[in-house]
Amino acid sequence: MAKILDVKDLCKTYIIDKRQNNVLKNVNFSVEEGDMVAIMGPSGSGKSTLLYAVSGMDVPTSGTVEFDGKDITKLTANELAEVRLDKMGFIFQQMYMMKNLTILDNIVLPATESKKSNESRKEKEKRAEELMRKLSIIDVADNDINEVSGGQLQRACICRSMINNPKLLFADEPTGALNRTSSMEVMEELVKLNGEGTTIMMVTHDAKIAARCKRVLYIVDGNIKGEYVTPEDENLSTSDKERRLNNWLMDLGW
């Protein structure tokens, strides 16, 4: 499998009141096409900072982030925006949406802005509806964002992140604001998407969620302390996988 993301010596330093705070310290890792990677770690360890730095939303202090063969740390703001629009997808913990648009319009918006395909608006709308159907939210297509449940809204966010067929989907605690049932439903959809070939990288606190990923990176104090590869044994139940991951995490001081 080809590398879609290759992170080398990534550092991120914040200066607060003249005090230097090294949030990421020479982080190195890579993600291959079709991978599903979870980033775990205690609060304040730098998980989200890492996610935002590698997705081009934040500017790293040093190091390189090669995405799809290009070092995105060297791109201009406009070039980065194009990369994010056409090649990346994002799911946030809070289900941010444009307030005055319907669910369908929120999903279609990035597609209508992208010049990636020659599709007409009608075709883009059709594709959005297909995605919504797939994630079982087609019934709320014309609803306003405040007329749907949190789970539905997060699935709408997934649809939006998928509308431009991204090469890599980033998710920052995508189930963090959802109840257990909704969390599982959303995770199910993400696993399904990964099964269909979408590469996913997510930050999570939840071992249950992380256990559904193919790999888990454990970050502590700005460093990747360990990497866990979920066994592919089909005989292993979900709870077994979760137990094994928990054991590994406890070994690392989780």
Binding site: Y96, N100, D144
Partner: protein, 786 residues
């Protein structure tokens, strides 16, 4: 603890708090200065006339007192009267810096400073009590019109007496200083004046101004009906009306002040509601942890109280110079009553403080209604919100940024109505003034002064003061014949005529009054416009104005007796017409009515109607030829003549520009502050769009389109409303001047292109500059959204 919460709030929500503070400053500034101006202007003329000592009835004569002194001495209807002696001169007698002086009225008054029945004021509103020998004071506006300055020399060559004076200042002249009267008064020292007074040859040019106090002006006017040599007579009401042009400007200031007050309150209400809605979530958190409603409410009210007081104080101080700028053009001519002065400004500022606290109290009232959960949800996900989206992006073929802008407006119209309302109110007002100015500068109003002709010659070298005499008829006939001859020689043959005003006693129902009659002996009276009835067809028929109808109770069909001096005639009223001459108090005579220049009180211009029809360009060429031939300056086409008669179009033009300037400032402030509020409110959405790959240029386009759409809607509404709204506020003003029904000139270039264009441009620049702030919001900010 509450103090700490408040301190944190002020620090953390700096942008919104600064916006609120700016709006409170603007509101206090507009309201305090507006209120002060409204009160000043409302009492304006009455206060000024009282202060200057203008009586209940004024008579101005030339060539002797015409028996008026005797009548006044014997009348029971006179409480007291004062007289001023003066000499009537012509603008041709006077040169400044070697050039002939320019004045709307050809006649000037030469007078001593101490021989006064009234008080003159310096430009700083102090009384003028003394003029040194060799010095002169002139009516305000003179220096600007003649491109002169204090200490310039003025040469007066008056019937053989040559004298040079140094101009020491301008005066506010309550009687002759208005635009309507337009006579320049030169005030000398007693010594200088005596040189004229000692010369008996000048007696024919001497005049007297009678300033009479009377409790029964109507009866007094009856008694004075046989007085001769009267150039002007009028009661205090008429003098007041002479300030109608100044009052138009004053009214505009008044309406502007009201407009600014409305705009500030609308905006203030919006910003307070907006900032409180921003804080609903925090209110929910406070409620959730058990803080009582009253404490939460008092916390926010304290914040708004602090803002209101700070804004009120700053606004109060800024309001003083701002108000003075607004009222400057009026205060140049008049002494405005500012007895209440600063107190009114203080009241205005306090009023704004109370209004702000009131708004805050009202807006925080929903704190009570919310449960903690409601409040917390209302902050972002807000289940209370109704359906917003009205349009579909998927089904639209619009550009995305344009769609978002349009959809925002359709989804939250209330928010944008505030802006539309503010822009529309200001624009309607500016456009209205432009409409009036364009009308005044056109020939639309020519019918209210006389007949429309090709050219008007209104120069004192041709329209001579000596025509107003017993020999005047022949002199005028000769002058007209000579002019027709000259025009033929110049290759522009045409008919020359002149409108002349006469003063004759008119008797109706046993009551006699002296009225002004207008006649053009060389123009068929049927060519004029009449608003009711039919034109006089013989010398026994007259047309009257509504003012005469209301004043004397005469109607169409009534018969009045007119004493033409040599004969008395019974005349039937056959029509109503409108005129701005003498503020509408005029009777039109048939061209054959037996008038005589002995009774003439004023002349209008020589009117030239060329034998063949000529284009505007040829008229322009011919005007230049006539100017050269006669060596005169005051030669006009119809539009210029209208402007000359009213003499206020330039002032109105300046007012329109001032208003446009103020409107642009308001548009700029509203746009910048509103846009900044919107950015603050939409930070999360902007960050989200950037996070999912939208470029900054897209965000800017979205923001700019939104304001442009709002501005275009506002301007469109303003353009539609301009004509009816202007008719509403300006028709009563014109009707005070005698023209009750004005057909305003809508110049598409001004009102569809230039003025809306400037406002839109200001809007575009303001929103563009402000929206650049979105550059500071990065995709990474999506992490920091609360």
């Amino acid at each position: 603890m509450y103090f700490n919460i408040l301190k944190k709030d002020l620090k953390r929500k700096k942008s919104m708090n600064v916006i609120l503070l700016i709006f409170s400053i603007l509101a206090a500034m507009f309201v305090s200065s507006g209120l002060s101006n409204v009160i000043t202007v409302m009492n304006g003329t009455e206060y000024y006339l009282d202060k200057a000592g203008i009586g209940d009835y004024i008579i101005i004569t030339q060539g002797g007192d015409g028996g008026i002194t005797k009548t006044l001495d014997e009348s029971d209807n006179v409480n007291s009267y004062k007289t001023e002696n003066c000499y009537w001169g012509s603008i041709d007698d006077i040169k400044i810096n070697g050039k002939n002086i320019v004045s709307k009225n050809n006649n000037v008054v030469l007078q001593s400073v101490s021989d006064n029945g009234m008080v003159f004021y310096n430009m700083d509103n102090s009384e003028l009590t003394k003029v040194n020998t060799g010095e002169v004071y002139v009516t305000s506006g003179f220096l600007a019109n003649n491109d002169a300055k204090i200490d310039d020399s003025v040469e007066i060559n008056y019937h053989g007496i040559d004298k040079t004076f140094k101009i020491k200042g301008e005066i506010k002249d309550a009687l002759l200083g208005s635009d309507m009267m337009g006579n320049i008064r030169f005030l000398f020292s007693d010594d200088d004046y005596d040189e004229y007074a000692k010369n008996e040859e000048l007696d024919a040019f001497s005049g007297t101004i009678f300033n009479i106090k009377s409790d029964n002006v109507t009866e007094l006017v009856n008694e004075l009906s046989n007085a001769t040599n009267v150039l002007f007579s009028g009661d205090r009401g008429m003098i007041k009306l002479c300030y109608v042009m100044e009052m138009i400007v004053a009214m505009i200031v008044l309406v502007l002040s009201v407009v600014l007050c409305i705009v500030s309150f609308v905006l203030l209400k919006f910003v307070i509601s907006f900032t409180i809605s921003e804080e609903v979530r925090e209110i929910g958190v406070m409620k959730a942890i058990g803080i009582k409603n009253i404490k939460i409410r008092s916390l926010y009210i304290t914040k708004y109280f602090m803002m209101a007081v700070l804004g009120g104080v700053i606004g109060f101080f800024l309001g003083i110079p701002f108000g003075n700028v607004l009222i400057e053009s009026v205060s140049k001519k008049m002494v405005l009553g500012q007895d209440y002065g600063i107190i009114i400004n203080v009241i205005g500022a306090i009023f704004v403080i109370f209004i702000m606290i009131g708004f805050a109290y009202r807006c925080t009232s929903k704190i009570k209604k919310y449960t903690p959960v409601d409040a917390i949800r209302d902050g972002q996900s807000g289940e209370r919100f109704g359906k917003k989206s009205k349009m579909s992006l998927a089904r639209s073929n619009k550009n995305n940024a344009f769609f978002l802008a349009l959809n925002d407006i359709a989804s939250a119209p209330k928010r944008f109505i505030t802006i539309i309302l503010s822009f529309t109110i200001c624009s309607v007002f500016v456009f209205g003034v432009v409409l009036v100015t364009d009308t005044m500068k056109s020939d639309r109003l020519i019918g209210t002064f006389g007949k429309k002709s090709d050219i008007y010659i209104n120069d004192s070298k041709r329209v001579k003061l000596e025509f107003l005499s017993k020999e005047g008829d022949k002199m005028l006939d000769d002058a007209i014949a000579e002019m027709e001859n000259d025009l033929s020689k110049l290759g522009m043959p045409g008919a020359v005529s002149m409108e002349v005003w006469y003063k004759y006693p008119l008797t109706f129902n046993g009551k006699t009054t002296v009225e002004t009659f207008q006649q053009n002996k060389r123009t068929d009276v049927t060519v004029y416009d009449y608003i009711e009835g039919s034109a006089p067809l013989n010398e026994n028929e007259i047309a009257i104005t509504n003012e005469i109808k209301n004043m004397l109770g005469i109607e169409i069909g009534d018969t009045v007796s007119i004493d033409f001096g040599n004969e008395k005639k019974d005349c039937i009223v056959v029509a109503y017409f409108q005129t701005m001459n003498q503020l509408g108090s005029v009777i039109r005579l048939h061209q054959n009515a037996p008038t005589s220049m002995t009774y003439a009180s004023a002349m209008m211009a020589f009117q030239v109607d060329f034998d063949s029809e000529v284009s505007d360009e040829i008229i322009r060429e011919r005007i230049d030829k006539i100017k050269d031939y006669y060596d005169v300056t005051n030669v006009f086409n119809a539009a210029e003549y209208c402007d000359d008669c009213m003499g206020v179009a330039d002032t109105m033009g300046a007012v329109a520009i001032l208003l446009l300037f103020i409107t642009c400032i308001v548009v700029f402030l509203v746009t910048v502050l509103m846009e900044r509020s919107f950015i603050s409110d939409e930070t999360s959405q902007i960050a989200l769009l950037k996070a999912i790959g939208f470029k900054n240029s897209f965000i800017i386009k979205w923001q700019v389109y939104r304001f442009l759409i709002v501005a275009v809607i506002s301007e469109a509404i303003a353009i539609i409303l301009t004509y009816p709204v202007t008719k509403l506020w300006c028709d009563p003003i014109f009707s005070m001047m005698g023209a009750g029904n004005v057909d305003y000139l809508f110049r598409p270039l001004s009102l569809l292109v230039i003025y809306p264009g400037i406002i839109l441009l200001i809007n575009l620049i303001s929103v563009l500059v402000t929206s650049l702030y979105t550059n500071k919001i990065t995709s990474n900010d999506v992490r920091n959204i609360e």
